[in-house]
């Protein structure tokens, strides 16, 4: 390896020509050869040229150390000296050799001195070393981080489980590897989440810092923030998923749950299925006139689960809004309302911000009413004050078009936003709905009384009706009458229920309504 010997000075014991050996020497992918004490390579097989790009002549024309990476030269010379001087065999010594045109190849040496010649076999281990480094780096990353990191196949079988996973989930790697994630840490009501993660990643969507809950080995739940990425092989074929989890139980559970994108993603699939499987229901709640007029109804969306449970919109509406399903829900509501209006009832439905952004949505509503044979004047569309404020142009177009159609517009949750009164002058609004927040404690809160009176005064100034939501007791109902509120709805008069059980049926407190009407 380190000293020169003339090319023709091979003195090994069995140096005679041997066809088999010559052939093997030529065809071997291993780098075979010899060197002399002066540090020159003396004979090299063609694999050298294939590996380093230099001709064998060029490699043998100067001391071999010249081809060694500067950082490896000292170790190479030391190893060579011990081989020559002390007869040590070299096994597995690695150094870098220059490649023609730039770059380096890692070689692993096996060498031995016989007489004045050193014979060696070197293997190109560049790829192996790169893989080892990567593996080492990954190992340090996976096991050295504070987060729980595990990998799984796309069908959810756990393939890697770092030590922090044991801290977070309670299972050690022996207990986790090879198990299905849904059997190990996914609670019963979240069993569809691993599949959703994979589906989202395969669909090119990110999955970052989603809050969810996982089961620990001891049966308790832990709130974690999860980030997931696909793992691809060198041909970019997906071969698994890596999930990084962080225990965020210290954060307010309610806060994290409300903000949980994970929840939303899970709900999107359920809403989609419910729409496709005709499991969206509309319950009706009576809206009672406090001045003796006829009753009307607000339709409220519910989702029926496959096992028949009715799920309120607070659980899924946000997800439907964020992921573009709310428009379908809104139009289902309009269709349900149209049927009731065609039967002679007055009905209110809620329309979301996303839906009013659609330029021709009023045309769609008009068509649904027409198809059902419903008079548009029987329809009141409720839009939240915040939806109005988010995009005034859309709100103006929407309300104007609805007004031209002959339908009415109610501002929902009025009084909960900024600057709401400014559009009352400009837009064709018929009704203000006073948020339940101001009604619930009406008889005890001077502030709530102030708001309700002020909303009524504002509404009267613009010639609008008012509806108080969430009326639960007679005392509040009487105060609302005293303050001049036009309509009321709430448990006092009737809870939301299936349309066929509510619409056209007697309200709950007819005597009270008669009294206050009188």
């Amino acid at each position: 390896m380190a000293r020169i010997e003339p090319h023709d000075a091979r003195t090994e014991p069995d140096s005679g020509p041997d066809t088999t050996r010559d052939t093997l020497f030529k065809i071997s992918h291993s780098l075979l050869g010899s060197s002399n004490r002066d540090g020159y390579l003396t004979e090299l097989n063609p694999a050298w040229e294939d590996t380093l790009g230099f001709s064998t002549g060029a490699l043998m024309a100067q001391p071999s150390i010249e081809f060694v990476h500067p950082s490896d030269r000292e170790a190479t010379l030391t190893k060579s000296a011990r081989m020559w001087n002390q007869g040590e065999k070299i096994e597995g010594f690695r150094n870098r050799y220059a490649k023609k045109g730039g770059g380096w190849r890692w070689l692993s040496w096996q060498a031995e001195v016989l007489g004045d010649t050193a014979y060696f076999v070197a293997l190109d281990v560049t790829e192996t070393i790169a893989a080892e480094h990567e593996s080492h780096l990954m190992s340090r990353l996976v096991h050295g981080m504070d987060d729980a990191i595990f990998t799984m196949t796309t069908d959810g079988t756990i393939t890697c489980w770092n030590s922090n996973c044991e801290e977070v989930y309670g299972f050690n790697s022996e207990e986790a590897l090879g198990r299905q994630l849904i059997d190990l840490t996914v609670p019963g009501d979240r069993q569809d989440e691993p599949a959703i993660i994979v589906e989202r990643l395969l669909g090119g969507e990110g999955f970052r810092q989603c809050t969810t809950q996982r089961s620990r080995k001891d049966g308790t739940l832990v709130t974690v923030s999860e980030t997931a990425s696909l793992i691809r092989d060198e041909e970019l074929t997906v071969c698994g998923v890596v999930i990084v989890g962080r225990d965020i139980s210290d954060l307010t559970l309610e806060d994290t749950e409300v903000r949980s994108e994970f929840d939303m993603v899970a709900w999107v699939g359920r809403v989609r299925d419910a729409i496709d499987e005709d499991r969206i229901r509309f319950h009706a709640q009576p809206i009672v006139s406090l001045h003796g007029d006829a009753v009307s109804y607000e339709l409220l969306c519910r989702m029926e689960s496959r096992d028949g449970e009715l799920i309120p919109p607070t659980r899924f509406l946000r997800a439907a809004e964020v992921y573009g399903l709310v428009e379908e829900l809104d139009l289902l509501g309009v269709r349900a309302a149209a049927k009731q209006i065609a039967d002679g009832h007055r009905v209110s439905v809620n329309i979301s911000t996303a839906t009013i952004r659609r330029r021709h949505i009023v045309d769609v509503i008009a068509e649904q009413l027409k198809n059902a044979g419903a008079d548009p004047s029987g329809l009141t569309v409720e839009i939240t004050e915040t939806a109005f404020m988010e995009n005034m142009d859309n709100a103006e177009r929407f309300t104007t078009d609805l007004s031209k159609l002959g339908a009415r517009v109610a501002l929902d949750d009025f009084g909960t936003g900024f600057g709401g009164f400014t559009y009352l002058k400009r837009l064709p609004i018929d009704r203000l709905k006073i948020d339940v927040e101001f009604v619930r404690d009406l008889h005890s809160s001077r502030a709530s009384q102030h708001v309700v009176k002020a909303v009524v005064a504002l509404a009267q100034g613009f010639g609008l009706d008012t509806v108080a939501e969430g009326v639960e007791d007679e005392e509040s109902a009487k105060m609302l009458v005293e303050f001049g509120v036009t309509y009321a709805q709430g448990h006092l008069f009737g809870e939301p229920g299936p349309m066929k059980e509510v619409v056209g049926k007697p309200i709950r407190c007819p005597a009270l309504v008669a009294e206050i009407s009188a």
């Binding site: 909960t416 600057g419 709401g420 009164f421 927040e437 502030a447 009176k453 504002l458």
Partner: protein, 149 residues
């Protein structure tokens, strides 16, 4: 209003009007000068807001009240109050009539408004905003002012 309260001492009227004017001016600035406002507002002050102007029924202390302004600006709103009439009532409360200029992302609009201020320990202790004169007057009629208000 009752006649229980002692009449304010000489000069108090001017001081109260000055405090109200100062609050009106500071409220219309953007960003509001919170340190300056703290010098005229009582720490335990409360404020009844007008619906359509503010999202809360009431602000229960000075800190909450001061948060209203950056919150509104953060949502694209600015409310600038103005007064064309300010008078001190016999109870010592201050009545102001004027308007609110509300600037929203969709433009600006002005609406008539009425304000009632009460005082404690030389500072503004309450602020009620009304968009309806009758309501403001009814509120005054219904209120029982404490001595020193």
């Amino acid at each position: 209003m009752t006649a229980e309260a002692d009449p304010p001492a000489f000069g108090d009227h001017l001081i109260r009007i000055k405090l109200v004017v100062r609050l009106l001016v500071l409220s219309g600035e953007s960003p509001v000068d919170k340190p300056a406002m703290t010098t005229i507002l009582h720490p335990e002050m409360h404020s009844l807001a007008a619906p359509g102007i503010a999202p809360a029924r009431s602000y229960e202390n000075r800190t909450q009240f001061l948060e209203y302004f950056p919150d509104a600006v953060g949502r694209g709103f600015q409310v600038r109050p103005d007064a064309s009439e300010i008078r001190v009532l016999p109870s010592g409360a201050v009545w102001a009539a004027g308007g609110l200029c509300v600037t929203t992302p969709a433009g600006a609009d002005t609406t008539p408004a009425w304000f009632i201020y009460t005082f404690r320990e030389g500072l503004i202790d309450s602020l009620e905003t009304y968009l309806d004169r009758d309501l403001a007057e009814q509120s005054l009629q219904a209120r029982i002012f404490r001595p020193g208000d």
